[in-house]
Symmetry: D2
Subunit: 436 residues, 4 copies
C-alpha cells in the first residue's frame, strides 16, 4: 500500500484493529452456537459478549508482544482476550483451528472490500452516464490504429465505457459471491471436534455462505478468481485512462483533465498541462494486475494446506483492493471534471479533407453497379491524394472531378454521401441498448 494511492475507508478495513474485531466476532458467534448446542457453558458466551459490550479498545501492541513469543497470531489474540475476559474465555476456539478464523475473516474483509468497490463502480457509472448523455450527439472523429476512420460521438465513447464498467460490476458481484464463504471445520476440515451447525450459524451471522467442503483452509481458487477479476477491472480502467491520455495530446486536445489553480505541470516548463492522473491510473492498473499471478500460484497448496499463500495475501489483499478503490475514485473524478472541447473535435473531424466519408462513396459506387474491387481502387486513388496533402485537398472535389466515379454518380449524389448526420442516426438505438 502506498499512502498517496489510498483512501481511508478501505485502508481502515485492512488495519490490525479491524482484523481483530472480525476475529472476535467469528470466535464469539461460534461460542454462541456451541453454547446453544450445549458443548460449552452459556455463561462463557455471556462473559465474552459482556466484555465486548464495554467496547474495549483493541490493544494491538499487546497482541503483537504475545505473538513475538508464541509466533502464532491467533493464539496471541486469544491469549489477549483471555487476559481481559478471564477464565471463561478458555471455551473460545474450542475444536476450531486458526484458519477457521483467519480464512473466514479474510472472506469478511474481501466481501466488505467488494462492497466499497461496488459503490465505487456505481459512482463511476453514474458519472459516465451523465457525461455520456451530455455528449450524446457531440460529433468527434472515430479512430482505428490512431488514424482517422469515420465519425462517432463523444457520448458513444463514454457509453462504451459505461457498458464495460457495467460488466465490471457484474463480474465483481460474481467474484464477491465466490469469496464470501465461511469455514469453521477444524484442523483438517472434518468437523471432528466441532459441529457443522456452528459453521452454519457463524456464516449466517456474518452474511456469508457455508463452504461446502474445506480442508484446513478455504480453497484458494476462490481467491484466485477474485484477484483475477480485479485485474480485469484494472485493465478496463487502463483502457479509459489511455483514451483520455490520447485525447489530451497537444495535437489532438479534444479533452483534458481538469487543471486546478496553483497546480504546476512541470518544474522546468511553466506551459505544461499534463494528463498525469490518467497516466497514474495506467500505472496503478499495472499494479492491480500484478496481484493476479501470485493469486493463481497460491491455488496449489500442498495436501490439506501449506501456508505459502498467507504472505502473498498479506500483500495483495490490502494492496490490490486499496489501489483499485483509489483508482476507481480517481477515474470517477477525472471523468466528472473532464474538460471536453467540442469545437476542437469538430476541427479535427474536418481536418482530413473529407476522407472520413470514403467508405460511403465506396458503397454508393458498388450500389451503382461498380465492382467492389474497382470501387475500392477509385476511391483509394483519390483518397491517397487527400491524405498526402494532409487534408489540404478535398476528397469531395477530387471525386467530382474523377471520370470513372462521374460515370456512376452525379455530383449531387457524391455530395449526398458527405453527410455527418448519416453517421449519427443509430446513436439512439445504441444508447437505448446501453442505458435501457
Amino acid at each position: 500500500m502506498v499512502p498517496r494511492y489510498s483512501r481511508p475507508e478501505m485502508v481502515d478495513l485492512w488495519s490490525a484493529e479491524s482484523r481483530f474485531r472480525i476475529w472476535f466476532e467469528i470466535e464469539a458467534h461460534a461460542l454462541d452456537a456451541m453454547a446453544e448446542l450445549g458443548t460449552v457453558p452459556k455463561s462463557a458466551a455471556k462473559a465474552v459478549w459482556d466484555w465486548w459490550a464495554t467496547n474495549p479498545p483493541i490493544d494491538v501492541d499487546r497482541i503483537d508482544a504475545i505473538e513475538a513469543v508464541t509466533k502464532h497470531d491467533v493464539i496471541a489474540f486469544l491469549t489477549w482476550v483471555s487476559e481481559n475476559v478471564g477464565d471463561e474465555a478458555r471455551f473460545l476456539h474450542q475444536g476450531m483451528t486458526s484458519s477457521d478464523v483467519l480464512d473466514t475473516a479474510l472472506a469478511v474483509q474481501l466481501a466488505r472490500a467488494s462492497d466499497i468497490l461496488l459503490a465505487d463502480l456505481d459512482a463511476l457509472l453514474a458519472v459516465l452516464k451523465r457525461r455520456a448523455e451530455e455528449h450524446k450527439l457531440t460529433p468527434t472523429i472515430g479512430r482505428s490504429h490512431g488514424i482517422h476512420a469515420e465519425p462517432v460521438t463523444f457520448g458513444l465513447k463514454l457509453a462504451e465505457a459505461y457498458a464495460e464498467f457495467s460488466r465490471a460490476k457484474k463480474r465483481l458481484i460474481a467474484a464477491r459471491e465466490d469469496i464470501a464463504t465461511c469455514a469453521i471445520s477444524g484442523a483438517v476440515g472434518t468437523f471432528a471436534n466441532i459441529d457443522p451447525r456452528v459453521e452454519e450459524y457463524v456464516a449466517a451471522k456474518l452474511d456469508l455462505t457455508v463452504e461446502p467442503v474445506s480442508t484446513q483452509v478455504i480453497p484458494r481458487d476462490r481467491h484466485a478468481m477474485y484477484f483475477a477479476t480485479l485485474g480485469v477491472i484494472a485493465s478496463s480502467i487502463e483502457r479509459l485512462a489511455t483514451e483520455v491520455r490520447h485525447l489530451q495530446r497537444t495535437e489532438v486536445l479534444e479533452a483534458e483533465e481538469y487543471f486546478s489553480p496553483g497546480q504546476k505541470g512541470s518544474s522546468a516548463m511553466p506551459h505544461k498541462r499534463n494528463p498525469v492522473l490518467t497516466e497514474n491510473l495506467t500505472g496503478l492498473a499495472r499494479m492491480v494486475r500484478s496481484a493476479v499471478m501470485p493469486a493463481l500460484e497460491n491455488v496449489a497448496l500442498w495436501h490439506e494446506r501449506d501456508i505459502s499463500h498467507s504472505s502473498v495475501e498479506r500483500f495483495i489483499g490490502p494492496d490490490a483492493t486499496i489501489t483499485l478503490d483509489f483508482a476507481l475514485a480517481r477515474l470517477t473524478g477525472v471523468i466528472d471534471k473532464l474538460l471536453v472541447y467540442p469545437a476542437r473535435m469538430q476541427k479535427n473531424l474536418d481536418r482530413m479533407g473529407g476522407l472520413v466519408h470514403s467508405q460511403r462513396v465506396l458503397l454508393a459506387l458498388t450500389q451503382a453497379g461498380m465492382s467492389r474491387e474497382d470501387a475500392y481502387k477509385a476511391v483509394q486513388r483519390n483518397a491517397m491524394q487527400v491524405w498526402e496533402s494532409d487534408g489540404q485537398l478535398s476528397l469531395l472535389e477530387l471525386l467530382k472531378a474523377d471520370d470513372e466515379v462521374g460515370a456512376k454518380l452525379t455530383p449531387a449524389q457524391i455530395e449526398a454521401e458527405f453527410d455527418l448526420d448519416y453517421h449519427l442516426k443509430h446513436v439512439d438505438t445504441i444508447f437505448a441498448r446501453v442505458f435501457g
Copy 2:
C-alpha cells in the same frame, strides 16, 4: 500449440478451414438479413448460399495467396468467394468492417471451445464423483504443511476437488456468456452503413447475444475475463496434480498414476515409476496461466481499436484452449485409473504413534477444567517425545503415564480420545453438501 498436448476436436476448431467456414456463415447470414431489409438483392443471398450448398472445399492455399498481395485476410477471403460465386458476391460485406467478421468469428470459436471444455469438466466431475464415493470412508492422514495433522478420508480429498471443479464449471459458463457476443456495427461501431437489425439477425443465427455497443471491435475486457478464467481453472488442475505427485512419492506412496505395460520410467533406472502425467499437468497449468497477462494487456486498445490484440489472440486463442482441453482430459484419465493404496494409507496414518489424536486430548483436558495453555503444554510435552522417536513411542502410553494429565483424565478417558471413527462422523454431511 504443441501437438503432443492437443486433441483433435479442439485443434480442428482452430484450423484455417474452420475459421473460413465461420466467416462464411457470418457474411452469408448478414447478407440474408440485408436482403430481407431490402438493401441488397435477394438473388445475391441466394447465389451465395446456393454455392455453399454444393459443399465447396475451402481452398486455404488460394486464400493465402491472395492475402500475400492484399495483406488483408478478410479481403482475401471475400475475393476468393467472389472468384467462386461470381458477380453477385459483391453485395457481401456491404457496410461491414473486417472486425465484424473477425471478432464475431472469434466469439463463435471461443464459445465452441467453451462447450468442449465444459464437456471436459463434466467428464472430470463424473470421474471425481465415482472415485470419491468409492473412497468415501477410506481413512488417510490429513496433512498441513506436509506434516501429519489429523485423519481425513481419501474420498474427502476427491470431494474437495469435485467442489472446486464445480466452481470451475460455473465460472466457465459465466466466461462463455461474457465472450459469446456478435458485433456487426461497421467501421467504428455506429451502424452508419449497416442496419442494427443485421447484427441482431446474425447473432440469433449463431446463438450469440448482441454486443450492446462496440467500437470497430468487440471490447477486449470480455476476452481478458475469458482467459483469466481459464487461468484459474488451470490452477485448480495444478492443485489436484500436485496432490497426486505428493501421494506418489516413494515415502508416501498412497496412490499412483496408472503405469502401463511396456512403459519405461527412466532410460537409466529400470525401477522407476514416476508421476509424469501429473508433473506434466503442472507444467501445462503454467502455460495456460501464461495467457492471462497478455489477455489483460490487450484490453487497453487505442481509441476505437488498434490491432495489437490480434497477434496475441492468434497465439493464446488456440494455445490456451487446446492445452486446457488436453489437460482436463489427461487429469480425468489420471483420476479414473489412479491406483489407490488404502493399506498404505492406514500404515502412514499409524506411523506417528498416535500424534494425530493430540488435539482431542487437548480438548478433553480443557473440558476437564485445565486451562487451555496448561493443556497445550501438557500435550505438547508428550507429543514432542513421540515426534522425536519418529513414532516409535506411543502418545497414548506416554499420556497415561503423565501425572498432570492423569490428574484430570482416567486412562479409559484418555483411550477414548484415540478413536479414528470419531474423525469420520461428518463425512456424510460433507458429501451431502458437495454431491447433493
Copy 3:
C-alpha cells in the same frame, strides 16, 4: 509458434530433425570420450560415426512410432539409432541419463537461437545508426506526457533506441553465456556411472561450458534468466514500436510505416494507412513477455528434478525465440523503410506559439534576479493564454507586453531565448557517447 510470425532459420532450429541431429552429436561425442577412456570399445564409436557419415535421413515418423510404445523420447531415439547401426550401438548412452541429452541439446538450441537473435540485433543496430545519423539534426518536438515539451531531433530518438538495443545485445550475450552449459553427469548428477571427463569432452566439442554441479538436470535458474532477458528485449521493441505508432497518428504524422503498392489499409475505408506493423510488434512483445512467468515458475523443481518444466519449454523454447526473431526483423524493416516527414515535424514544432521556449525565459528571469517562484508564475501566466489559444497567440509577443517580465528583460533579450539551435548544441556530444 504462429507461422505468420516466424522465419525459417529459427523455425528450422526447433524442428524434430534438428533436435535429433543434436542428440546424435551429444551421444556420439560422449561415446568418443568413453572410447578414449577405455570404458567402451573404440569400434562402437567408429560404427556410430561411420553410419552418420552416410548422412542418413532422420526418420522422425519411425522415432515417434517407437515413442508411442516406450513413452520415452530418448529411448525411442536410441532404439532407432540401434535399428540402423546395429549391435555396436548398445554402448551409446552408457551411464548417461536422458536429461544429459535433453538438457545439453536444449542448451545448444538456445545458444544457436541466441546467435540468430544477436545477428538480428546487429542488423537492427546498423539500421538505427544509419537513420539516426540521417536525422541527427532534424528538429522535432520532444514530448512528455504526450504534451509538447522542448525541441529534440529525430536522430536523438533513434540514438536512444540504439543505446537501448545495445544494452539488449549486452544482456543477451550474458544470457547466452548463462544458458550454454553441458551436463553429462548421470541419473542424479553424481557421475556414478560416467566419468566427468566425458562431460568436459562433449562440452568442448559443442562449444559449451561445463555445468559445475547438476542434479539430473541443468538447473532452471539459467533458463529463467534467459527468458526473462528475452522479455526485457521484447519490452524495448514495444517501446520503439509505440513511438512509431504515435508518430503516425493522423494529427501528428511525423513518420509513417512504409505502405506498399497494392496494400489495403481497411476493407471498408479506402483512405486508411495504418501503423499495423508496429501495432503487431506491440502484440508480439506481449507474447514474448508471457514466457517469463512460466520460466520463473520452472525453477523450483522438486529434489533432483521433476519433469514439469519440460512441457513449458516445449512451448516457450520455440515460441519465444521464433517470435522475438521475427519481431526484431520486422522492427528492423520498419525502421529501415520508415517514411520520415521533417516538414511536418517543423510544423508541429511551431504550432504551439512558442510555448516550447517557456523554460528558457524562466531561467533568464531567474538569472536576472527574479525569484524562481515569481518567474514561474510570470511565465505560466502568459503560457496559459497561449495554450488556451491553441497556439494562435504568440508567447514571445505576450512576454514582450508583460510589465513584470519587461522590468527584468529587454525585448531583445526575450527574443534571444526563442532560438531552436540553442536546443541542439549538445547533439554531437550525445551522439559521440552513443556511437563512439
Copy 4:
C-alpha cells in the same frame, strides 16, 4: 511493504527522509558543478552546503504540506530548502528537470539496495558453503519425480544451491551496473539548459555512470532488467525453500527447520512442527516475482516520457527489494540452523530394498554382453517386484535368483554393484568445481 517481512536497513533506504537526503546531494553536487563552470555564483553553492553542514532535520511534514498545494514533489522539496537556505537557493535545479533528480535518486537507491542484497547473498553463500562441507559425504537418496533414484550426498544438494546463488550474485552485480546511472540532462534530455559536465560531475560524486542518452528520464529497460533479475533470484529462493519443505515432510523427515522453545506449531494440534519459514519463503518468492510484469510494462513510456512508471516504482521499488532482503536473510537463517538427520537419510536410502542400484546392474549386464533392451527388461522385472513389496523384498536377492541375470553375472559380481561408495567417488571433483 509488509512490516513483518522487512528489515530496518532496507526499509530505511526507502524512507522519505532518505529520499530527500539523496535529492539534496544530487542538487547540491550539481550546484557545485555549475558554480565551477561559472553558470551560478559560488556563493550559492557555499550557502547550500553550509546549511547542510548544520545537519538540519528533514521536515517531511512541511515538504508534504507544500506538495499538497503545488502537486509536485520536487518543487515542494526545493521550496522547503529555499525556506531554510534563503535567497541563494534559487540557483538550485537550474536547467534541470524533476526527473533528473528523481531518476538519479532512484538509481542511488537501487544501487544501495543492491549492495544490501549482495551482502545478503554473501552471507547466504557462506552458510551454504559451511553446511555443504559439513555434509559433503552424508549419503542421502537422490530423487527424481519425487521417487527414489540413486544416492547423492546432502552436501551435494547444498553445493548445488551454492552454485545457483553464486550465479544469482553475478546476475545481481550485472543488474546493479545496469541500473546505476546518472541523468542530469534537462527537460527532454538535450542538455539545452545544463552543461553535460554537470551530469558527469554528479555521476562521479555518487558513484554512478553517466547515462549516455536520456529523454526526460532514464530509460526503463534498465529497471525492467533489474526487477527481472530480482524475480530470478526469488525463484532460486523458492527452489531451496521447496527442498527443505519436502525434506521436513513427516514421511521423509531428513531435515527440519529449527524449532524454538515456546514456539507453537498449531493452535489446535500440539504435536506439530511445521516448515513455516520455508513455506513463507515460497510465498515471498511469488511476491518478488510479481514485480517483474509491471516492470516490463513500464518500459514502453510514450515519447520522451510519461509518468505511468512512477506509481509502479513507488510500489515495487521498496516492496521487491525489502521483501527479497528479508527472504535472503530468512533463508540464510534456515540453512544456518537447519536440523539435519543423517540417520534418517540412511534409513530412507535403505528402505527400497536396493532399488537404487538398479542402473548399475543394468550397465553390468550390458557390459557382459546382454543387449540394452534385454538388460532393461531383466532388471525392471525384478525391480517391479521389489517396488510392489514396498522394499520388503531385496533386489539383490531377486537378481541372484534370476536365471537370465545369473547367466551373465556371478552372485559376487551382482553384489559388487550394490556399493554406496561407488556413487560418491566424484563428490570431490564436484566440490572442487563449485568451491574452487
